[in-house]
């Protein structure tokens, strides 16, 4: 069903004078947003909602770090501290980082990359956003009615006996899980059924491979979390005894169930970040991606291996020695596909002409921080060192290097990369560089010190600590405020760009994927013409156009689906 091909703008697929009728202006009023079926608007609503959660979780983190400035009480009681670290974890994990990249950038970019008008199941997409809001409401209710102090892992038997608001928080996480399942399901169907002419599986942009692998995990692992949390709720309200030793149940079974989801969940978090990385590294090195098939397959390999390693969270929970050895060996094997990706990105950069624009600064930060995060994972995966490091700040630091240094940093890179496409405005490059620098320095100061104190035996989640850890804790706290300053500046220049930013060209960075072939911001139905896909990393097909201050295709007809026949 081709739209009129002889639209104003002639043969060019991109009308560079962005029309006033785009997805942001198409339909007015709050209801036209809340009940939209447009994937772009849903993506933007997710972005607002998820960044708000990030802000909330960040405030909890700063409160925690402030409390840890001195041993003993600094600003709050031990009970409040327990609630704060639980809320920091629960909000960051369930509200922010799991839905994070797929729900925001995935929703916005995925159909555009496919040259499609929308995701395959737009109503389900809106339903998933509403589920997210419902789940978030339950989480907020639980914060208001007395919070929760179990840690974000809800371990039994403590979670079945504490008198804090476990039921509303777990119900919130349960509902958020279904939001995540429906997003994943939608993406699987969309990628299978809506690829354009010319886009075979191995000509998909690697972003789609990463999102697809993520979706597989979302769909297969999240239901198990759903039933686990449901059992926990039943345990607290009815006393079903499955996890409660006083009724004949087994609390360690809860750990198995929980980690059967929650370990794959960390790959739900990191795989989309790796997906963004493949785009950034290629575009900002001005080179075709190196080792396309290896990167694509390594995403699938990570998705599959992720289901086989959950036991490494339970080395000290009384598993048999044989189980521990098997889980340890499988854990090491995850390092292989991860390293395959990193080496391919490095090879892509080799002899490239690297532009240090803000998205690339984040991509380079990712390489550095993810390497540290990934390698310290091997310390924790080997049995003998894990006994020493288990439940210390070393684990906290490792987790944050992977999740913050990996996922959040790549998410920021992705936001900076697609921001002009999403809102049609350029942000201040200079301020973006300042903020990227502050975040990098602040992050390392916050978490590298935690590696050191962890290896010296500082346990995680403790309110009090020995005098000799004071210097490390204070350095870490200073780092966290530097980090916050970086984010504060970022919020400033991004918000400013919405009103005062330069108008963005259709293709400011020179990417060859299809989302750059429409205006910035995109039209309501995305593309004026039916698209066909070529090599997503053929950057030589583009050239700089000083008039629009963006890149244009040397042969604009190459991405149009049989232009002659369609008219």
């Amino acid at each position: 069903m081709a739209e009129e091909i002889s639209a104003p703008g002639g043969d060019a697929p991109v009308d560079h004078t962005a029309s006033d009728d785009n997805y942001l202006t198409h339909g007015k009023g709050i209801l036209s947003w809340l009940f939209t079926l447009d994937h772009k608007r849903i993506g933007v609503m997710y972005l607002v909602a998820i960044l708000s959660s990030f802000f909330l979780g960040g405030v909890f983190a700063l409160v925690l770090r402030t409390e840890l400035w001195t041993p003993g009480q600094t600003i709050m009681t031990a009970d409040t501290y327990n609630k704060m670290f639980t809320l920091h974890g629960a909000v960051m994990i369930f509200l922010f980082i799991i839905p994070g990249i797929p729900a925001t950038l995935g929703n916005f970019v995925l159909p555009l990359m496919l040259g499609a008008k929308d995701v395959a199941l737009p109503r389900l997409n809106l339903a998933s956003f509403w589920l997210w809001l419902t789940g978030a409401t339950f989480a907020v209710v639980s914060i208001v009615v007395g919070a929760i102090d179990t840690g974000w892992t809800f371990y039994t038997p403590y979670s079945t006996t504490t008198n804090t608001a476990v039921v509303s928080m777990t119900l919130g996480a349960f509902i958020l899980g279904f939001s995540s399942i429906f997003t994943g399901l939608n993406f699987i169907v969309t990628i299978h059924k809506m690829r354009p002419e010319g886009m075979t599986w191995f000509r998909m942009p690697l972003f789609l491979w990463g999102i697809y692998s993520t979706a597989i995990i979302q769909v297969l692992a999240t239901p198990v979390l759903g039933i686990t949390l449901l059992l926990l709720i039943a345990e607290r309200t009815l006393g079903v005894g499955i996890f409660d030793p006083s009724l004949g149940g087994d609390p360690v079974l809860f750990q198995h169930f929980f980690w059967f989801y929650s370990h794959p969940a960390v790959y739900i978090m990191i795989l989309p970040a790796m997906a963004i990385m493949s785009e950034l590294i290629s575009v900002f090195s001005g080179k075709h991606i190196f080792g396309y098939k290896f990167i694509a397959w390594s995403s699938i390999a990570i998705a599959l291996l992720s289901f086989l390693v959950w036991g490494h969270h339970m080395f000290t929970s009384g598993q048999s020695g044989l189980m521990n050895m098997i889980f340890s060996a499988l854990t090491f094997s995850v390092a292989i596909p991860s390293a395959v990706k990193v080496f391919n990105w490095l090879a892509t950069m080799y002899k490239g002409s690297i532009r240090l624009a803000a998205p690339m600064l984040y991509a380079l930060s990712f390489l550095f921080l993810f390497a540290i995060g990934g390698l310290t994972g091997l310390f924790l995966g080997s049995l003998s060192t894990d006994i020493h490091l288990h439940d210390t700040y070393f684990v906290v630091a490792h987790f944050h290097y992977v999740m913050f240094g990996g996922t959040v940093i790549a998410f920021l890179g992705g936001i900076h990369y697609w921001w002009p496409k999403m809102f049609g405005r350029m942000y201040s490059e200079r301020w973006a560089q300042v903020s990227a620098f502050l975040i990098f320095v602040g992050f390392n100061l916050t978490f590298f010190t935690q590696f050191v104190m962890g290896s010296h035996g500082m346990p995680r989640r403790y309110y009090n600590y020995l005098e000799r850890f004071t210097a490390y804790h204070q350095a870490s706290t200073v780092g966290s405020f530097v980090l916050a300053l970086g984010f504060f500046i970022m919020a400033g220049y991004l918000l400013h760009s919405l009103v005062g930013g330069e108008k963005a060209p259709a293709n400011p960075w020179g990417g060859a994927t299809l989302e750059w072939e429409t205006t910035s911001p995109p039209a309501y139905y995305n593309f004026k013409h039916d698209m066909q896909a070529g090599d997503p990393y053929d950057l030589d097909a583009l050239q700089w156009d000083p008039q629009t201050k963006g890149y244009v295709r040397k042969d604009p007809r190459s991405v149009l689906l049989s232009a002659g026949e369609a008219s």
């Binding site: 069903m1 499609a116 008008k117 929308d118 995701v119 395959a120 199941l121 737009p122 389900l124 399942i181 399901l185 939608n186 699987i188 169907v189 969309t190 299978h192 059924k193 809506m194 769909v219 297969l220 692992a221 999240t222 239901p223 198990v224 759903g226 039933i227 686990t228 449901l230 059992l231 039943a234 009815l238 006393g239 079903v240 005894g241 499955i242 409660d244 009724l247 004949g248 149940g249 087994d250 079974l253 169930f257 139905y525």
Partner: protein, 287 residues
């Protein structure tokens, strides 16, 4: 502006699909992926079942005697019939036989209500005798007028009106059996019954079909209620979906042969049916 176009065969095609086939294929793949998530959702409970049955087989052997195989079998037959009528409904929608479609949906719903009715009878019996999940587990029999936490005297009276073959099982509260209580915290009795551990005199009881309750028997009932309860919620969801289909049929939605919705609901219903078959095998037919 209309978001829908009509292709030559009269089917509504959403704006973002190229043709009706792409739309149908997308819906179908989406449904299959959803069914995969449903299997994993139940999977957690099946794993819990497997873990507890492997560790405490005697609890399952003991507990299953309190379920009525005949009612379970009846429900299995009901659900299999409903799967047939659901599949028939899909065929009717494809052939645009709207009257037949409505009839088949109604028959499927009738089966679903029948299933829930039988389930209600079963739950009611368990409720009366305190055979509930662990937190509410308080087995007792009104006839004997005695309530015991450790030992069950149970004649399965709720089955009296059905033709039941199950033999009577009575466990006597004999003062000569202090072992039963001590065993609860120590070694669980063997699956075959109390032969080696029981006090003298219980050999007769065993011959008479008596049985001593093993430790943690409540876990069986927890798992029974969780699995059948979650399945029951899915049956209720199915009934809701069939009501929706009936409303669609009344509005004339299926007049053009647009059968996707019937097909999707039927797929879901087959899965609900399939899960019940496993529940019947695993919970009712243990020996």
């Amino acid at each position: 502006m209309s978001d829908r176009e009509h292709s030559s065969d009269g089917l509504a095609v959403e704006h973002h699909f190229e043709n009706a086939d792409q739309q149908y294929q997308s819906a179908k793949l989406g449904m299959w992926v959803f069914l995969a998530t449903e299997i994993l959702f139940f999977g957690g409970l099946f794993v819990a079942y497997a873990v507890y049955r492997a560790n405490h087989p005697e609890v399952f052997v003991f507990g299953h005697h309190f379920l009525d195989k005949n009612l379970g079998a009846l429900n299995t037959v009901i659900l299999i019939c409903s799967s047939l009528t659901a599949a028939w409904a899909v065929r009717a929608a494809q052939l645009k036989q709207i009257g037949m479609l409505k009839l088949m949906i109604l028959l499927t719903m009738l089966c679903a209500f029948g299933f829930m009715g039988v389930k209600a009878i079963e739950y009611n019996g368990k409720w009366k005798h305190g055979l509930l999940w662990a937190g509410q587990y308080d087995p007792h029999v009104e006839d004997h007028g005695e309530v015991s936490h450790d030992v069950i005297g149970e004649e399965i009276p709720e089955n009296a009106h059905v033709e039941v073959v199950t033999e009577e099982r009575v466990v006597e509260t004999s003062p000569a059996q202090p072992a039963a209580d001590a065993d609860r915290s120590a070694i669980a009795p063997a699956a075959e019954g109390p032969a080696g551990l029981a006090a003298p005199g219980s050999a007769e009881a065993e011959e008479a079909g008596f049985e001593i309750e093993p430790a943690n028997a409540q876990i069986y009932f927890s798992i029974y209620f969780l699995m059948t309860g979650l399945h029951g919620i899915h049956v209720l969801g199915g009934i809701g979906a069939f009501v929706w289909l009936l409303l669609c049929a009344r509005r004339g939605y299926f007049d053009g042969g647009h059968f996707t919705r019937v097909d999707m609901v039927a797929l879901y219903w087959h899965l609900v049916d399939l899960i019940w078959i496993y529940l019947f095998l695993l919970l009712y037919l243990i020996d």
